[in-house]
């Protein structure tokens, strides 16, 4: 009876990192389905490309770092990074754009810091930010959605698979006009003359609340997020913090429906990448704050920054920058949001420099 002495606890829960990652991927499916319905094959091509790039790059670097390749490839974290990045990129992004973004995310965002669990920044957002500042033209041309041709005959959505592949792999081979347009966030930010009602009439992109198609896709992200909350993959703190802060900011600075309107709270909550960010990006545990209270603060910080950059900044959407900036603050937030331990009158907060207790 040779039995190895094993440290307690001997019983283990059934939760595994891989399961968590797969559930996150599963929760994106409603959003992916709607994106595909509205914008054609572009999203799926993005996902496929990014996944392949991410897995190959991850395997390569693991090999270089002399780490067990299959053991880490199996954890599913590279796939999650790739998917989230692919969902953030405009559909039909040229293949090289996807490669640059994914490569930067995996190499600089993840492995240079030590791989899984060690990265201070959200890798997907790092990759996204790099291509956003480097290739603004490609990054701001979102394809038009199914049904727009009935409103604006000049625009035609790209719905065929072959046409889509052509746009991705041979960029510039198809006419550049008429297939992509500015997003609703762009339209509102650039507007200074028209009231919201007039804007809505001239720009069908605005839709009912936050851009047609966008509203639906946002609701799909919300549904996926609620599923993950139900599955207790993450706690409610970060999403609620972000959405709450964004809602509060947009309510405070909402100038009604006039030409100086900064957009209604609903417009901000359902527009752009708000919902994707709230339920799939700020919830990334590695680069976020640790304690529940810390995550609330982290999310709120992202919400405020998103609004500030959207309304007063130079970029139409801001989730990536806001998340990266808050990633920087996460360790500090951790120091100041530690919970009160059992049997202690107060929580130990602060950096703890120069006030060591026992030594």
């Amino acid at each position: 009876m040779a039995m190895a002495p094993i440290s307690p606890p001997h019983a283990m829960g059934s939760n595994r990192t891989r399961t968590i990652m797969l559930q996150v991927l599963g929760a994106t499916l409603p959003g992916v389905a709607l994106l595909t319905w509205f914008f054609g094959w572009g999203t799926l091509i993005n996902i496929l490309l990014a996944s392949c790039f991410a897995l190959v790059i991850e395997a390569l670097i693991l090999h270089l770092r002399k780490r067990p390749v299959m053991f880490f490839l199996n954890d599913g974290s590279a796939l999650v990074t790739a998917w989230l990045l692919a969902l953030a990129l405009p559909p039909y992004s040229p293949w090289w754009l996807v490669l640059v973004a994914t490569g930067f995310a995996m190499v600089f965002g993840k492995h240079l810091y030590g791989g899984l669990g060690q990265n201070p920044f959200n890798p997907a957002m790092l990759g996204y930010a790099v291509v956003l500042v480097s290739f603004p033209v490609e990054m701001t041309s979102w394809p038009v959605w199914r049904g727009i041709e009935e409103l604006q005959p000049a625009l035609t959505p790209t719905l065929g698979l072959l046409e889509g592949l052509q746009r991705v792999f041979i960029p510039g081979s198809l006419p550049a006009d008429g297939w992509a347009t500015a997003t609703a966030l762009d339209v509102v930010r650039n507007n200074s003359a028209l009231t919201m009602a007039e804007l809505r009439a001239t720009e069908p992109a605005l839709g009912g609340m936050a851009g047609r198609a966008w509203e639906w896709v946002s609701l799909a992200w919300l549904a996926g997020g609620l599923f993950l909350l139900y599955k207790r993959i993450y706690s409610w703190h970060a999403p609620v913090g972000m959405l709450g802060a964004l809602a509060l900011m947009s309510l405070l600075f909402w100038n009604g429906d006039g030409s100086a309107s900064n957009g209604s709270p609903l417009f901000h909550l359902l527009g752009g990448a708000t919902m994707l960010g709230a339920f799939f990006i700020v919830t990334d545990p590695v680069s976020s704050a640790t304690s529940p209270r810390g995550r609330l603060v982290f999310g709120a910080g992202v919400g405020v920054l998103v609004y500030v950059i959207r309304v007063w900044g130079n970029y139409p959407d801001a989730v990536a920058f806001a998340v990266l900036l808050m990633n920087l603050c996460a360790p500090t937030i951790d120091y100041y949001t530690a919970p009160r331990t059992y049997g202690h009158a107060r929580a130990t907060r602060g950096m703890g420099k120069g006030q060591s207790e026992r030594h």
Partner: protein, 576 residues
């Protein structure tokens, strides 16, 4: 019944599969008398007991084998009658598998009791006598930690115990020993509680039992019906509600201060098994020589509970429960959350509540750990509201000050964090190692501090001695100066009064001839002339041909002779 007791929730906690039903169907069985018992001298927290028997002695059941050494120690008694076979290192139930000093007793098969001294009416005794009786019975806490019960009862004599909590939560999966104790000996347990009440005089007694034990709750309620001070409180089933600090929080809403004792907030906890042992010690006069042990796990054909003699080898108990060796994957003493792997040759001791013979399916080998992704599930599960992911981070980096800032020492090692960890990180192992390292460092610090103090004290002592020597020297110098002054004064006086009047001085003068000033001058003149002569002679020896020197020497010889003569004349005149 008075007002309903409010149940407070504890933060965190987990709901692992309970696996309790399989060992509760057969009651509390009596295993066969083992041929040989191993009785470690250390079965409690503290100092090992000291044997009072020799190898070859014949002892009766219940006879004292080893006495307690001070307050943090516990007496040991013979669980059956027989002969002492050995006293020395023997297998011990510890994860290290190391042997520990023990008394080995060969049973004579008669199981003959020593004469017992039950107490007819414990209410007539004062609490000191009762506590002494419990100490003499060798009772230590039977819930797991094994703190000597008598010492615990007297731990804070200045604090009044308002609430006595009887811990029947038994939150850990698989274990049913307390459950079966309460089901089968409810009246004895309640009597034990009443004895404890007589000692502590608490205002209320709360028996906390998780609501997954309805039979135990019903049995205890019925047994305690007659006493309105004792209340059975069903609590929600959630691991680790049976942790002492957690149960106190659940039942009173109060927290034991960090580093303090429950007595600091007027609470004292005792395990149901301990209450039963108290009953046996007082009402039957029996020392603690047996306990209820759960035998369970998928590798046993008939999982059950037994009233096992302390010192029974684990292998014999497993055989009694029908161990299937080929199915056994991991043998754990205690439960699957906080128990530890043991060698089947080791015996059960006073703190052993469960033997879990698990199959591979039940307790699979943990998968290799992945890096922490800081998902925070551990922080959500932690009943002490620690941040295990941060502690893990600091433990990896051996950042001891931060570990202490993040209250590592408030970790109760319940294992909830490691249970929920999706990366299979053995968090508790890291925390135990961290605690051990910090304790070692603190010991070093204490030693270094002691050395520093010793060194400084030595320096001080040396300086003190040097100063003392200096003071002594000065004192001597002063004394000499005073003596000299006195002598000079006397000399002056003597000059005036003459030698004859001072017989003492005359004696001194007889030894040291004293000269008058004129004589002195003459003596000095003679000496000076001699020295000049000698100097000139020296020079002449160096330069024998120098005529000047030759003449000078002659002159000087003459001068010297004259001076000498003058001096001698003067002294001879004086003497005559």
């Amino acid at each position: 019944m008075t007002a309903q007791i409010r149940i407070h929730d504890i933060p965190g906690g987990i709901h692992p599969p309970e696996n309790k039903a399989q060992s509760t169907t057969r009651g509390v069985e009596q295993p066969p008398l083992p041929a040989r018992l191993i009785l470690p001298l250390l079965q409690h927290i503290g100092v090992p007991a000291e044997p009072v028997v020799k190898v070859g002695d014949h002892v009766l059941k219940g006879q004292l084998l080893a006495t307690a050494q001070g307050r943090f120690s516990c007496a040991l008694h013979a669980p059956t009658s027989g002969t002492i076979a050995e006293i020395g290192p023997a297998p011990y139930p510890h994860v290290s598998g190391l042997h520990e000093p023990a008394i080995v007793l060969d049973s004579d098969g008669e199981d003959r009791w020593v004469e017992l001294e039950p107490i007819a009416d414990y209410r007539a005794l004062d609490h000191v006598t009762l506590v002494e009786k419990l100490a003499a019975a060798g009772i230590s806490g039977m819930g797991g930690a094994g703190f000597p019960t008598a010492t615990k009862l007297l731990s804070r004599p200045d604090h009044r115990i308002e609430t006595l909590i009887i811990n029947g939560a038994e939150c850990e999966p698989y274990i049913t020993a307390d459950d079966m104790t309460m089901r089968h000996y409810p009246a004895q347990v309640v009597t034990g509680i009443e004895i404890l009440m007589h000692v502590l005089t608490p205002e209320q007694v709360l028996i906390g039992i998780e609501d997954n034990k309805p039979e135990a709750i019903a049995a205890m309620r019925e047994a305690a019906q007659h006493n309105p001070t004792i209340r059975v409180v069903p609590i929600p089933t959630k691991y680790p509600s049976g942790g002492e600090k957690q149960l106190i929080q659940i039942l009173t809403g109060r927290e034991v201060p960090s580093g303090g004792l429950p007595a600091d907030i007027g609470v004292l906890c005792q395990n149901t098994g301990t209450a039963l042992a108290v009953h046996d010690a007082v009402m039957l006069g029996r020392p603690l020589i047996s306990r209820v042990v759960t035998l369970t796990g998928g590798a046993l054909e008939r999982p059950t509970n037994v009233q096992a003699l302390i010192g029974t080898p684990i292998s014999e108990l497993l055989a009694f429960a029908g161990l299937q060796r080929e199915r056994l994957h991991r043998l754990v003493l205690g439960g699957p959350m906080m128990g530890f792997t043991v060698d089947p040759q080791a015996p059960i001791i006073k703190t052993s509540n469960c033997l879990l013979a698990a199959t591979e399916q039940e307790l699979p080998t943990p998968p290799p750990a992945l890096p922490c992704i800081r998902c925070g599930l551990c922080a959500e599960a932690c009943p002490a509201q620690l941040l295990p992911q941060q502690l893990h981070w600091f433990a990896l980096g051996k950042d001891y000050p931060q570990l202490q800032r993040y209250n590592l020492f408030d970790c109760i090692e319940c294992g909830a964090c490691a249970y929920v960890c999706p990366s299979s990180i053995p968090l508790v192992q890291y925390f135990r190692a961290g605690k051990g390292e910090i304790r070692a460092i603190e010991q070093q610090h204490t030693k270094a501090e002691q050395s520093r103090v010793r060194y400084e004290q030595r320096l001080e002592r040396l300086q003190r001695e040097a100063e003392q020597r200096e003071r002594d020297r000065q004192a001597r110098a002063e004394k000499a100066a005073r003596a000299k002054a006195a002598r000079e004064a006397r000399e002056a006086q003597e000059q005036q009064t003459g030698a004859a009047t001072e017989p003492d001085l005359a004696r001194v003068k007889a030894r040291i001839p004293t000269l008058s000033p004129e004589q002195k001058q003459l003596k000095i003149a003679a000496a000076t002339a001699r020295m000049a002569l000698q100097k000139a002679q020296k020079q002449l020896n160096a330069n024998p041909d120098n005529s000047d020197l030759q003449a000078q020497v002659v002159q000087l010889e003459q001068a010297h002779a004259e001076a000498q003569q003058a001096f001698e004349q003067a002294t001879s005149q004086e003497d005559t």
